[in-house]
Subunit: 374 residues, 2 copies
């Protein structure tokens, strides 16, 4: 993405994660901040007064302070947009009209700009002016309604799925529009209007397919899979572990592998549909069987038969595992204070690409204004 | 994406969801299936013998049956790859070498091909040959360890986050490599090596940032947010609802809005860090307060002050709500049997773009072979 300039007027998570993705793929990302800075700079926890929430998703960017309530600020923003390929903004619809970059303004400023909008509910429609944060979108989209313990309350997904999935769709939409502009020679201002709500719905494609075409209303089912079993968590003599069978042809092999060939002939479990119908009975049998030995035994046996299975790791066990290094999980950045901080890498960035730390507020204001001739 | 041809040799979910994204953005996606078909065709539930799991993520594709164990099958695949821009495959590393399209083969067949690999653990590294499905990756990545009820067991995210997030990263990587090839005129075979594991780690950027730089080990915290409060589920007189404050400057407004101005001066709650430290006490106070009136009352009051809040919807309440239509949530397709089926739309596809139903197994074999001159 060398040579692609992205003007980033976003705060919090959905916008910054999107532009972090683009920056770590080589784009020149300029983060425009108001004099008080992105509100995420104040999100705890901190290390050496740097918000870790902010520092993680604002790597590989330069920061310029612009007060968009002043004429000078607006003028600088216009120059910046004129020099850019992409604008990403996650203001509430309508706000940017008052700040001098409505659709009409943008068409005059830079008629080749790809403009990505991220909002809770899109640029138009009955909810477009309502504020939204991750949990609001997870609640309204139905994501919470299928996440959590079986029979228990709807539960927020433990990472900010409402934001992060919207970030990914936005980055994809930007790349697609850029491709159409520069490789397929389409012309004119183009928009990507991303609603966090619709992005969560896309994650629920299976749940909606089941409801819309078979009348099934999915609910939280703990660690079970809605249409496959065994594909869930099981107890053992010591710790829980997971098993994932891909379909019926693995079933006989699975039964033999765990020493329960008797189950192969059991009509209650003979195919996916029967196993789903009788999954409580099956889980009772398997649970009792697995409790006789430790998880390490079962993992060894199952892996020798190429049956997908795993221990349930946590953040610490992963970060301290040799796997993290083997898979280049993390990148190091050195802040201007000489602090070394580590964060997750972009999994599709080329190996060997380096990252720069999240900028201090306005760190590059003078440099960028100079580049713009101001 | 008109004119971009994608050869799709994937099964199950991570690959098909990725190529559905590309197809719904206009690419010509050709799904190569073995004589017995994608195993997902057998995944319940069914409508008119069509797997809904399969039908949802294989829209906008043509299906060709190729037996890659025969010379004719290999020859047809080579011709197809020669005609294509992108190849997406989610076989286990090494399998394709035996099927005649190793990296060396591909470089001869089509030196301009963008090759995307989706696997559990990447094309190289200590786990590259291990099989993986969604729950295995959710378990091994740490995602399960931060999802679920507070103090409760690690819980699988209720949608297939392990697959879907990998699909999104792969589609993004493909678009970026295509852009570099066709707009920036980079040349030569290019790869996107996507591991589902690393994609889950990217979703955990905040959790890892906290551990790597502040030693915090995140755990399941139900519907709470790790670094913001109030940003969670609350009870009311009738149903639960969610509130999402964005930061400290909303706090005084929030207290006044709900009729608890007395809390503004309470030092336990004066900023984000104090509220996080005293969140149990705060939740007790707010929970008791909200229980005095129904959720509808609180939503009206909070929305009038522009404080993000929502009811927790489920799949049925959304599908039957006017919002689904207002936001073009679903598209209709008509199968060759005349069945009308509905599925979630790609949220970044242009409005008005239509979708074709998932193909029958081998539906387009003759048509595609003819196009290839075979």
């Amino acid at each position: 993405m060398e040579g692609i300039r992205v003007v980033d007027i976003t705060t919090a998570l959905s916008g910054p994660f999107c532009t972090w993705l683009l920056g770590s793929l080589g784009a020149d990302v300029i983060k425009v901040e108001p004099p008080q800075g992105d509100s995420a700079r104040a999100a705890p926890p901190f290390r050496s007064d740097i918000s870790l929430y902010f520092a993680s998703v604002n790597r590989n960017k330069r920061s310029i302070i612009l007060d968009l309530k002043t004429e000078e600020g607006k003028e600088a923003l216009h120059r910046l947009m004129k020099s850019a390929d992409v604008l990403v903004e996650n203001m509430r619809p309508g706000v940017r009209d008052r700040l001098g970059f409505s659709d009409q303004d943008l068409n005059v400023i830079n008629p080749r700009l790809i403009v990505a909008h991220i909002s809770g509910f899109g640029q138009s429609g009955p909810l477009s002016h309502e504020p939204a944060y991750d949990i609001v979108v997870q609640a309204m989209s139905g994501v919470m309604s299928i996440n959590g313990p079986m029979g228990g309350p709807p539960t927020r997904v433990g990472f900010s799925a409402g934001d992060i999935v919207a970030s990914l769709f936005t980055a994809l939409g930007i790349m697609q529009r850029l491709y159409e502009r520069d490789a397929l020679r389409c012309s004119g201002l183009d928009h990507v209007d991303v609603s966090m709500l619709a992005c969560q719905w896309a994650c629920l494609e299976n749940a909606f397919a089941r409801y819309l075409n078979a009348g099934i209303v999915p609910e939280p089912i703990g660690s079970r899979h809605p249409s496959l079993t065994p594909f869930e968590t099981y107890p053992s003599q010591d710790v829980d572990f997971v098993i994932a069978l891909s379909g019926s042809w693995d079933w006989p092999k699975f039964c033999q592998t765990i020493g329960r060939s008797d189950l192969v002939a059991d009509v209650r479990f003979e195919d996916d549909e029967n196993r789903l119908e009788n999954r409580d009975a099956l889980d009772d049998i398997l649970g009792a069987h697995f409790k006789a030995r430790p998880a390490s035994y079962w993992l060894t046996v199952l892996k020798s038969a190429s049956i997908p299975c795993a221990l349930i790791e946590n953040i610490e066990s992963i970060a301290t595992s040799p796997l993290a290094d083997a898979y280049n999980a993390f990148s190091k950045v050195e802040t201007s204070d000489g602090e070394i901080m580590r964060f997750v890498r972009n999994p599709i960035a080329r190996l060997g690409s380096t990252e720069t730390p999240a900028p201090q507020l306005g760190e590059h204001t003078a440099e960028i204004l100079k580049e713009l001739g101001l």
